[in-house]
């Protein structure tokens, strides 16, 4: 296989053993990016400095120095994660010219591990969306069918990995934003337990729900990324103690629960593939049973209450005074300046800010926000009970196949409904991963595997077991 098509682990091994150089590898990637980007549009910024960085890594290896576990591996970073000195736009006019003066902790850890930052990837504005259509930089296209959406909000991350533009990526997942595009693009994407990975440098959209999540072509690559970025950070007080290390292992036949509400809500084409996945798992010695998660019925309402409420406050800082786009303050009274500058948010961002302001406004706290938090408790309680009996809970990551670009963009609520399978993990703060399960009419279907909080190893074991047995890997024709 050409170096640029290799997984993260294989690239690291190849560069370390000097089978090929980092510089060769990065040059190939940049060529590949140039070739496919006109079709895919996964990147907001491509980092030409990557070659220089690759040369540095190559020299370190030649000199016999320690270059790090991911030395030379090209990684793309979602454009809502701060990279020092590199424009970080969140796909919004409100951060059009923003260059962060600091690195996010996850970026720092990747760089310290020798990774090469190949570029910043496209997203829905401020991570609010499920298709990457709400971006100022145009939509990203699904590498399996460029007339269709790649999923979102980390569409650029998933597409760049699927289209072999990089070995792995970091996205962010608030209501499914890593798993959804991973499913639609047939790659592996996970959301960790809330607090496992530092959010310092992740631009906040809904801070009680979101986490940075790695994306790779295999479970093995996701594990490699996780081992570098996970663990306590003094710059994020919501991180849990300790620096965990995960291994790639198949474990021994986990007890599997198939969530009835998820499978029943899925299109038949999707359901068919998931049932086949269940058979595969059973064939590997897993005990599989159907289970019910009744409080799923409140999940979307709870998610969209909390997420919009937090978003309305997190996005208040974008008044264009300290950072933003070029608009002189002279000639304006401050209220007018703020209102005019902020009219440059996109439709979806504006809608969520309005809904969020509504649910938090005077007198409504008990009716919406408080109830939504109680729904989270209810859901978590129910999940905890299930996890006493089952090691993992599975279902389709998305209830539908990747749809045509523009299909749901005028109906916000219809768009929100596709998140039904993914928001549960965010609300409960539990880990969940999407692995490719198969193709229906040439379009990807993802299997979601969920585990109890801080049980990433259990979840990864089941995912790896399935991946090795199912052998779904393909490369899109581009």
């Amino acid at each position: 296989m050409v170096p640029y098509a290799l997984g993260a682990g294989q690239v690291a091994a190849g560069i370390k053993s000097r089978e090929f150089s980092g510089e060769e590898y990065v040059c190939q990637l940049l060529e590949r990016i140039e070739k496919v980007e006109p079709k895919i549009n996964a990147f907001v910024t491509v980092s030409k400095e990557a070659i220089e960085r690759a040369r540095t890594i190559d020299k370190k290896i030649r000199d016999g120095e320690q270059a790090g576990p991911l030395a030379g591996v090209a990684v793309s970073i979602k454009d809502n994660i701060c990279t020092k000195g590199i424009k970080t736009t969140c796909a919004s006019r409100m951060l059009e010219s923003y260059v962060p003066p600091y690195d996010a902790t996850v970026v720092r850890r990747l760089l310290d591990a020798g990774a090469i930052l190949i570029g910043k990837t496209n997203l829905d504005e401020f991570a609010m969306g499920s298709t990457t259509e709400f971006s100022r930089h145009g939509t990203t296209r699904n590498p399996w069918d460029i007339s269709r959406v790649p999923g979102g909000s980390s569409g650029g991350s998933a597409a760049s990995v699927a289209a072999l533009e990089c070995a792995a990526s970091l996205g962010s997942d608030t209501g499914g934003s890593v798993r959804c595009p991973a499913s639609f693009c047939s790659v592996v994407g996970m959301k960790p337990t809330y607090g496992l990975i530092s959010r310092y440098g992740l631009v906040s959209y809904a801070n009680s729900l979101e986490q940075v999540g790695p994306v790779g072509r295999t479970v093995s690559d996701v594990v490699s990324m996780l081992n570098v970025i996970a663990g306590a950070d003094e710059n994020d007080h919501t991180t849990a103690d300790g620096r965990p290390a995960y291994s790639l292992q198949e474990g021994n036949g986990p007890r599997v629960g198939l969530v009835r509400e998820f499978i029943e809500g899925a299109d038949s084409a999707v359901a068919k593939i998931i049932h086949k996945a269940v058979d595969t798992l059973a064939g590997q010695g897993c005990k599989c049973e159907e289970v019910s998660l009744a409080s799923v019925q409140y999940a979307l309402a709870s998610y969209y209450t909390i997420a919009t409420a937090e978003a309305s406050s997190n996005l208040a800082r974008y008044d264009n005074v300290r950072y933003g786009f070029d608009m002189s303050p002279e000639g304006y009274e401050w209220n007018s300046y703020f209102a005019k500058a902020r009219s440059n948010f996109g439709d979806e961002a504006k809608r969520r800010i309005i809904v969020g302001s509504y649910v938090l406004s005077s007198g409504y706290y008990g009716k919406y926000y408080l109830k939504a938090q109680q729904a989270r408790s209810l859901l978590k309680r129910e999940l905890k009970t299930l996890f006493k009996k089952y090691d993992v809970l599975i279902g389709p990551t998305m209830p539908i196949l990747p749809f045509k670009i523009g299909e749901k963009i005028d109906d916000p609520l219809k768009m929100y409904l596709v998140d039904i399978d993914t928001v549960v993990a965010n609300l409960a703060g539990m880990p969940a991963i999407s692995v490719p399960a198969g193709f229906a009419d040439g379009l990807p279907v993802g299997l979601q595997v969920m585990a109890d909080e801080f049980r990433e190893q259990t979840m990864l074991d089941a995912a790896y077991l399935f991946e090795q047995a199912a052998q779904v890997q393909r490369i899109p024709e581009l």
Binding site: R317, W334, L360
Partner: protein, 479 residues
């Protein structure tokens, strides 16, 4: 007409090294604009608040000193509103409407003579940045200039119940608060803007008016007094007092309607997801109690019981921490507490320059005396080297020059005349000059004091009065 006054005091925790949620220095005064900032206190995307442990400890001590209950857990809320001095367009603060989250509730503070005021709550919050108007005036500036150096500095807000009825009480209460804060070493009240106070005033059960923008504690009494008069006047004319926020105009000494129409604000409070609730519990409380410095009331008790000072004298000392500290330093040099206390309370205080004290917020601003001077003076008087009158004169001199009293005493030969011979001569000459008085004194011993007075006059106050009186009495018996 029943008057109700409530206070909202903001106190910067200048005693911490860093800001409330980031590692920037808390000491922002005198720094170039925006030189004391970082991504977090500027509200840059992706930054997260990191709660300062010392700030929580200090806030806990303030709560305890005000007799408050400290909850098992504290939490932070977002107060959402837009303003150019607010980097995130929300302020991180504490809020009790959905459950107690603030560091202290339900306290009470005694002050003055037997008065007390209830403390509704004590909470931690962050200070916003500072706005500066080009050309100095909010009306003429074409743009505003923003300095974020102060943004994120820890504030403790103390809210009282409307238990005050007299503006004088407000002043006494604020003095006590100042004394407590200084004794705790959590805030240097001398620094400009380190303590601020807003007041709420209502008269005769009418609407409540909030007074903001009072620049110093001393002005609060004036502002409240003015506002009470304003409200009483309106009420007596059957004009309704509107519920509103008014600003104190320091130049004209009046409260004015707020220029910017402060609309009914919907702050949309909700808990800050980036700051987990902090578990305090009994361990925190007992640790805070143990590490608390001596509070003014306890110090007063000690002055009375250990040094035998009169209660009212001790009170004057502790009312101003500087004075109490001065006292304790002086008695270390010369252990005569009652004598030294007297010199401080009666004599030294009379030299305090009110204006300079205001300006530099220091009791002894402009005065050149330190504990060593008073210790020296007290020693000279105790050892009978000089008499009290002379000592007072010397004090008057040295507050301006800073010379040591013993130095001055030697220089001007202001020593007492112990020389019996010289004294006998003085007594003789007085007896010759005041024959009628001498006759009086032979009949009525108390009248000897008049003769003593004459002897003191004749010796320009340098005579040792005890010795002189003995001589006079002896001479009266002769004959």
């Amino acid at each position: 007409m029943e008057t109700k006054i409530g206070l909202e005091i903001h106190c910067q925790l200048t005693g911490t090294k860093s800001k409330l949620f980031c590692r920037c220095s808390c000491n922002y005064r005198g720094k170039a604009p925006n030189a004391n900032t970082c991504p977090t206190c500027c509200g840059l995307p992706g930054t997260l608040p990191l709660l300062n442990q010392k700030a929580v400890e200090f806030a806990g001590m303030i709560s305890l000193a005000l007799g408050c209950k400290i909850p098992d857990e504290i939490a932070f809320y977002r107060k959402n509103y837009f303003y150019p001095d607010l980097p995130k367009n929300f302020q991180l603060t504490q809020y009790n409407a959905y459950g107690i989250t603030s560091i202290g509730v339900e306290g009470v503070l005694e002050y003055g003579d037997g008065k007390s005021a209830r403390i509704r709550r004590v909470q931690l919050e962050e200070d916003p940045g500072r706005l500066v108007y080009e050309g100095g005036s909010i009306d003429t500036s074409v743009y505003v200039l923003i300095d974020y150096n102060r943004a994120g500095v820890p504030l403790v807000e103390i809210v009282t119940e409307p238990d005050f009825v007299d503006p004088k009480d407000v002043r006494m209460f604020l003095n006590k608060i100042t004394s407590i804060i200084e004794h705790l070493s959590v805030c240097d009240t001398k620094l400009e803007g380190s303590v601020r106070c807003d007041a709420n005033v209502s008269v005769g059960g009418g609407n409540r008016v909030e007074i903001k923008n009072v620049s110093s504690f001393a002005d609060v009494e004036k502002a409240v007094r003015y506002e009470i008069t304003r409200q009483k006047t309106m009420t007596s004319r059957d004009i309704e007092v509107r519920s509103e926020t008014r600003h104190w105009d320091d130049a004209r000494k009046v409260t004015k309607e707020s220029r910017t129409k402060e609309e009914e604000q919907d702050y949309r409070y909700f808990p800050e997801p980036d700051i987990p609730a902090v578990m305090l519990g009994s361990e925190f409380v007992s640790s805070a109690e143990q590490s608390m410095p001596e509070l003014p009331d306890a110090r007063k008790e000690r002055f009375v019981s250990k040094y035998g000072l009169l209660a009212h004298v001790a009170q004057v000392l502790i009312d101003n921490k500087e004075l109490a500290d001065f006292f304790e330093s002086a008695i270390k040099l010369y252990p005569s507490p009652k004598e030294i206390a007297n010199w401080l309370v009666t004599d030294l205080m009379s030299f305090v320059d009110e204006r300079q004290k205001e300006q530099e917020r220091s009791l002894f601003a402009g005065l050149k005396v330190g504990p060593e001077h008073i210790a020296d003076l007290a020693r000279l008087v105790d050892q009978d080297a000089i008499n009290r009158a002379t000592a007072k004169q010397i004090l008057g001199q040295i507050v301006r020059t800073g010379e040591m009293p013993s130095h001055v005493a030697k220089k001007t030969q202001a020593g007492k005349i112990d020389d019996i011979g010289a004294l006998a001569e003085a007594v003789d000459s007085v007896f010759r000059a005041e024959q009628a008085a001498v006759q009086d004194a032979r009949r009525n011993p108390n009248a000897a004091n008049f003769l003593l007075g004459r002897v003191m006059q004749a010796t320009k106050g340098r005579a040792n009065p005890k010795v002189a009186l003995e001589m006079i009495q002896k001479k009266l018996k002769e004959d």
